[in-house]
C-alpha cells in the first residue's frame, strides 16, 4: 500500500503580491489613480499645486532684504534678476517689523509687552493642565526661557532707539532680575504645589494691565483690594442671605470702594511711597500687540458675563430670561463693525457729558459685550449637552441652585465648551483686524497704511499683507489644532 496521499504540514510561504498590488505602486493606485475620475482629480490637483508653487516660491525666496526704499528694491530686482522679474521687497519688513508687532509702543519698553505675553501662557497653563506638575513645569520653563530670550533681543532695539522714558524705567539688569525672580517663583510653585498656580491666573489680568499700561503700582493693587472686599463680603453673607443677595451686596460694597475710596487711598499711598512703571498711554498700542490686547481682554472679561447670560437664558425667571435672550439676540444680530462704530461714534452720547476715555478702551468694552453674547451661546451649548440626569442627581443630593451649578453643572459644561471658547477666541482675534476701520492701528490695514504713508514705501502692496497673513495663520492654526487636541483629551466619556 503505497502512500499516495500528501498532506501539507506547513503553510506555503506567501507569494509577494503582483507589482501593481504592493508598495508605492499600490498606494498610488489606491489613493491617487483609482478610476478615471480619481485620476483626473489627481492630475488637476498636481497642476494646481505646481502653478501655485512656481508662482509663489521664487517671489518669496528671492525677496530683497537689503534696501532702504521701494525704489531701491525695484532697482536691485532689475540688477539681480533682470527686467520684468517680480520678487518680494522684504526690506520693508526688516525695517518696520517692530511696528507690525508693537505699534508705537516706546521702543525701550518693548520688554513689557513681551513679558506680559509670556506670562499670559504661564497664567493659562494651570487652567488647561490643572494640577499636573510635570506639564506645568515644562510649559512654564519653556515660556520663561523664550520670554527672557526675546526680552534680550528687543533690548538691542532699545539701545539704538531714542529713549522715550527716563533711564531708570528701563534699567535692564533690574528688569531681567524681576523677570527671572517671577519665573523662578512660578516654577517653584509649579514644583511644590501646582494647584496653587491658579492664584497666578487670578492676578494675571491686573499684572498684565500693569505691565502694559504702567503707572503707579497702587492702582492695580487698589482694584485687587476691591475684589478682595467683594470676596470677603460674599463669604460672610452667603450663608445667611443666599448666593445672589450676597453677591449683590459684595458688588455694592466693592463698587463703593472702587468709586469712592480707592482713588483717595491710592493717591495717598502713591504720594507716601511712589512705586510703579513708566506710564504708557494705550493710544500707542498697535500691531499684533493691539490685536492680542483686544482679543485676550475681551474673551477673558466676556467669560463671566457669558456664563451669567447663559444661565439667565435657561432661567425660570421670565424677566431675567427675556432680558438675556434680548441681549444675546441683539448682539448676535448686528455686525461687529456696527459695534466698533458705536464705540467710536455713539458711546460718547450714552456716557455722562465730558466723560471721555481712550478709543481703545471703548473698543474693548464694546468687543467684550459682543464676545459675551457668543460665549453665552457656546456655554449654553455646553449646558444643553449635559444629560438631564446630572441636574436631577444634583437635586436629589439636596444641592441648591448655585451649589449644583458650581459643583456639578459648570465644571462639566465648561469642559464641553472649551473648544467652542477657543474657536470664539480665534474668530475674535481675526476680527480685531476690523478696528482699523475706526482708525486704530491694527496689523493688517492700520499699520500697513502707516507704512505706506512713508514716501519710501509708498506703493508697496503685497509684502505687508503676506507677512501679516502668515502670522495670523500661524497663531490661529496653532490655536485651532490645540483646541482639537484639547477636545480629544477632555473627552472623558468612553463611548
Amino acid at each position: 500500500m503505497s502512500d499516495t496521499s500528501f498532506i501539507r504540514t506547513e503553510m506555503l510561504p506567501a507569494k509577494t503580491p503582483p507589482v501593481g498590488q504592493r508598495g508605492v505602486v499600490k498606494w498610488l493606485r489606491e489613493n491617487l489613480f483609482a478610476g478615471p475620475m480619481n485620476t483626473i482629480l489627481t492630475l488637476l490637483g498636481l497642476i494646481a499645486v505646481y502653478y501655485l508653487l512656481a508662482w509663489s516660491v521664487p517671489w518669496v525666496m528671492r525677496g530683497i532684504w537689503d534696501a532702504d526704499t521701494l525704489q531701491d528694491c525695484r532697482r536691485l530686482t532689475i540688477e539681480r534678476y533682470g527686467e520684468g522679474a517680480s520678487v518680494a521687497c522684504w526690506a520693508m519688513i526688516s525695517e518696520r517689523w517692530h511696528q507690525f508687532m508693537f505699534g508705537f509702543y516706546p521702543q525701550d519698553l518693548y520688554w513689557r509687552p513681551v513679558l506680559a505675553f509670556g506670562l499670559l501662557f504661564a497664567a493659562l497653563a494651570p487652567v488647561l493642565y490643572y494640577g499636573e506638575r510635570r506639564t506645568n513645569l515644562k510649559l512654564i520653563g519653556a515660556v520663561a526661557v523664550l520670554t527672557l530670550v526675546f526680552m534680550g533681543e528687543t533690548w538691542k532695539l532699545a539701545d539704538i532707539a531714542p529713549k522715550a522714558t527716563p533711564a531708570l524705567a528701563s534699567n535692564s539688569s533690574l528688569v531681567i532680575g524681576f523677570a527671572v525672580a517671577l519665573f523662578g517663583l512660578l516654577l517653584a510653585t509649579a514644583a511644590a504645589a501646582p494647584r496653587k498656580l491658579t492664584w497666578f491666573t487670578a492676578i494675571y489680568p491686573l499684572l498684565g494691565f500693569f505691565l502694559l499700561w504702567g503707572g503707579s503700582v497702587w492702582g492695580p493693587l487698589g482694584v485687587a483690594m476691591g475684589f478682595a472686599i467683594l470676596g470677603i463680603v460674599f463669604v460672610l453673607l452667603q450663608g445667611r442671605l443666599g448666593v445672589v443677595v450676597a453677591a449683590g451686596a459684595g458688588v455694592l460694597v466693592a463698587a463703593i470702594w472702587w468709586l469712592g475710596v480707592q482713588t483717595v487711598a491710592t493717591t495717598a499711598l502713591h504720594s507716601a511711597m511712589p512705586m510703579g512703571l513708566y506710564s504708557v498711554n494705550s493710544d500707542v498700542f498697535g500691531g499684533f500687540l493691539l490685536s492680542f490686547v483686544i482679543g485676550v481682554s475681551a474673551i477673558s472679561m466676556s467669560l463671566p458675563i457669558g456664563i451669567l447670560l447663559a444661565l439667565g437664558r435657561r432661567s425660570d425667571m421670565i424677566l431675567v430670561k427675556t432680558l438675556s435672550v434680548g441681549f444675546i439676540e441683539f448682539v448676535r444680530g448686528v455686525p461687529l463693525i456696527t459695534m466698533l462704530f458705536t464705540a467710536s461714534l455713539l458711546l460718547q452720547y450714552f456716557l455722562p457729558p465730558r466723560s471721555n476715555f481712550d478709543l481703545i478702551l471703548r473698543v474693548i468694552i464694546l468687543v467684550t459685550l459682543f464676545a459675551s453674547a457668543y460665549i453665552a451661546e457656546v456655554i449654553r451649548g455646553g449646558l444643553a449637552a449635559l444629560p438631564r440626569g446630572q441636574y436631577e442627581a444634583a437635586d436629589a443630593l439636596g444641592l441648591d441652585y448655585w451649589q449644583a451649578q458650581r459643583l456639578i453643572v459648570m465644571p462639566q459644561a465648561l469642559k464641553i465648551a472649551i473648544p467652542g471658547i477657543v474657536s470664539s477666541f480665534i474668530g475674535l482675534f481675526k476680527d480685531t483686524t476690523l478696528v482699523a476701520l475706526v482708525g486704530l492701528a491694527d496689523p493688517l490695514t492700520g499699520i500697513t497704511r502707516i507704512v505706506r504713508a512713508d514716501i519710501n514705501w509708498k506703493n508697496i502692496y503685497w509684502e505687508p499683507y503676506v507677512f501679516v497673513g502668515a502670522i495670523f495663520f500661524a497663531v490661529c492654526f496653532g490655536m485651532s489644532r490645540y483646541s482639537m487636541y484639547l477636545e480629544k483629551k477632555l473627552k472623558t466619556d468612553h463611548r
Binding site: 498606494w27 489606491e30 482629480l41 424677566l319 463693525i337 456696527t338 462704530f341
Partner: protein, 425 residues
C-alpha cells in the same frame, strides 16, 4: 390617598422676600427690572444732555434731503439727485444681493470641499484640508482685499479688447478677448455680462420707487405655477407607486411642465440677450458688475465655504456607518442610499450650523467697506453719515435694519430646519 401634611401657613414677613424661595425669584426679578430701568434711564438722560450740549436733536429729516453723491452699483434707480433715504435702499439692496450670491456659492463650494475632504483620493483630500485650514485661519478682511486686487491686476484693460481696422488689415488679434463665446467681458475695472432683454415690453408699475415689470412678474408667476403643478404630478406618481409598487415614468412630464410654459412665454415676448460692446472708454451694454461686488462675493464664499465644508464633513461623519450598510443589505443602490438614507439624516446635523453661516455672511458683507463696496454700511453708515453728521440716527437705523435682516433670515431658515428635521416623538 394619604393625607398631605399641610405646612403651617406662616404670616408673610418682609424677610421672606429674601429667604423664602417662593418669593426670592420675584424679589430678584423686581431688583433686576429696577436696575435695568435705572440703567436705561441713565443712558437716555445722558444722551439728551449730550445732544443738548452739542445743540443737536434727533431728526430723521435728512433722509428726505438730496444725497448728492453717486453709487456705482444700483439695483434700483438712483441718481445723485435722489434722497438719502433712497440711497439707504440702494445700499440695502446691494447688501442683500451680495449676501444672496455669497450664500449660494459658499454652499456649493462648501459642500464640494466637505465631500472631497472625505475623498479616498489622498492628494485631493489633503489639498482640501490645506484649503480649509488656510482660508479659515486668516482674517476675512485680507481675503476680501486680495481677491479685489487680484481681479484688478490680472485682467486686461478695456482698450486691449479693441480691434482697429489696421489690426484687421495686419491680421493681428487684439491683446485680449471676451470670455464665454464673446459674451462676457472681464476687464480690470469690472465685468460686463449679457443682459436679458425683451422686444415686446409689457409695461409695469412702480411701487415705493422700485419699478416692477409685468414681464418679470409674469415669468416668476409661471415658474412658481410650473413647480406647483410638477409637485402635483410627482405626488400622484408617488401615490401610484404606493398603491401598485410601480412608479410611472414622470421625467418627460416634469420637463415639459417645468420649462415649456416659461420658454413659450419668453419666446412670445421676444427674449434675447444684449451683449456688451466696447464703446468709448469702456464696455457698454449688458449688465456691468463692479469688481468690488465680484471680489466680495468671491472672498465671502471661499472663506465661509471652509466653515460650511467642516459642518458638511461633520454631518456626513455623524451618520452611523451601519445606516449605509443596512441600506446596502436591503439592496438599495449607492446613489439612492446617499439620497434616501444618508443625506436626510446628515442634513439634520448640517442645517443648524449652515443657518449661522448664512447669518455670518450677511453680517460680514459690511467688510465690503474695505474695498468701498457701497452696501448699507457704505451708504447710510458711510457717506450719508459723513455728509450729514447725523451719527446717532444713522447708526441706530443701521443696527435696526441689520437686526431685522438677521432675525428674518434665522426665522426663515428655522422654518426650513423644522421641515427637514427628523420628527421625534
Amino acid at each position: 390617598m394619604t393625607i398631605a401634611v399641610e405646612p403651617p401657613k406662616a404670616a408673610f414677613r418682609l424677610s421672606m422676600l429674601i429667604y423664602d424661595t417662593r418669593y426670592r425669584a420675584m424679589t430678584i426679578q423686581v431688583i433686576v427690572l429696577a436696575l435695568v430701568l435705572l440703567f436705561v434711564g441713565w443712558l437716555t438722560d445722558n444722551t439728551i444732555q449730550n445732544l443738548a450740549a452739542k445743540d443737536k436733536d434727533i431728526n430723521f429729516g435728512f433722509l428726505w434731503a438730496r444725497a448728492g453723491y453717486d453709487i456705482d452699483q444700483q439695483l434700483i434707480p438712483y441718481t445723485n439727485d435722489s434722497t438719502h433715504g433712497r440711497a439707504l435702499f440702494v445700499g440695502l439692496a446691494n447688501t442683500l444681493v451680495v449676501a444672496f450670491f455669497a450664500c449660494i456659492f459658499a454652499t456649493i463650494i462648501g459642500v464640494i470641499a466637505g465631500v472631497l475632504r472625505l475623498s479616498k483620493n489622498w492628494l485631493v483630500a489633503r489639498l482640501m484640508t490645506v484649503y480649509v485650514e488656510v482660508f479659515r485661519n486668516i482674517p476675512l478682511l485680507l481675503w476680501i482685499i486680495l481677491s479685489f486686487v487680484v481681479l484688478g491686476e490680472t485682467r486686461p484693460a478695456p482698450k486691449d479688447f479693441r480691434v482697429t481696422d489696421e489690426m484687421i488689415a495686419a491680421g493681428e488679434s487684439p491683446a485680449a478677448t471676451m470670455s464665454f463665446f464673446d459674451s462676457v467681458a472681464i476687464t480690470n475695472r469690472g465685468s460686463n455680462i449679457p443682459a436679458p432683454k425683451l422686444t415686446t415690453d409689457l409695461g409695469g408699475f412702480e411701487l415705493l420707487g422700485v419699478p416692477f415689470s409685468f414681464a418679470v412678474l409674469g415669468t416668476l408667476a409661471l415658474i412658481i405655477g410650473s413647480v406647483l403643478v410638477n409637485n402635483r404630478v410627482l405626488a400622484q406618481a408617488k401615490a401610484v407607486q404606493e398603491a401598485t409598487g410601480d412608479r410611472p415614468t414622470t421625467w418627460w412630464k416634469s420637463l415639459l411642465i417645468l420649462f415649456a410654459p416659461t420658454l413659450l412665454f419668453l419666446w412670445v415676448l421676444g427674449f434675447h440677450l444684449e451683449y456688451p460692446v466696447l464703446k468709448g472708454f469702456n464696455f457698454q451694454g449688458g449688465i456691468s458688475v463692479a469688481h468690488s461686488f465680484t471680489a466680495l462675493v468671491i472672498a465671502l464664499s471661499i472663506y465661509s465655504a471652509t466653515y460650511i465644508a467642516e459642518s458638511v464633513r461633520a454631518g456626513i461623519l455623524a451618520i452611523n456607518r451601519g445606516q449605509t450598510e443596512a441600506a446596502y443589505a436591503l439592496g438599495i443602490r449607492p446613489g439612492r442610499t446617499m439620497k434616501l438614507i444618508v443625506l436626510p439624516q446628515a442634513l439634520r446635523v448640517i442645517i443648524p450650523p449652515l443657518i449661522s453661516q448664512y447669518l455670518n455672511i450677511t453680517k460680514n458683507t459690511t467688510l465690503g467697506m474695505a474695498i468701498s463696496y457701497l452696501d448699507l454700511k457704505g451708504t447710510l453708515g458711510g457717506i450719508t453719515l459723513n455728509q450729514t453728521g447725523r451719527e446717532l440716527e444713522c447708526m441706530l437705523l443701521m443696527m435696526m435694519i441689520y437686526l431685522t435682516l438677521s432675525l428674518l433670515i434665522s426665522s426663515l431658515m428655522n422654518i426650513y430646519n423644522n421641515a427637514v428635521k427628523l420628527k421625534e416623538r
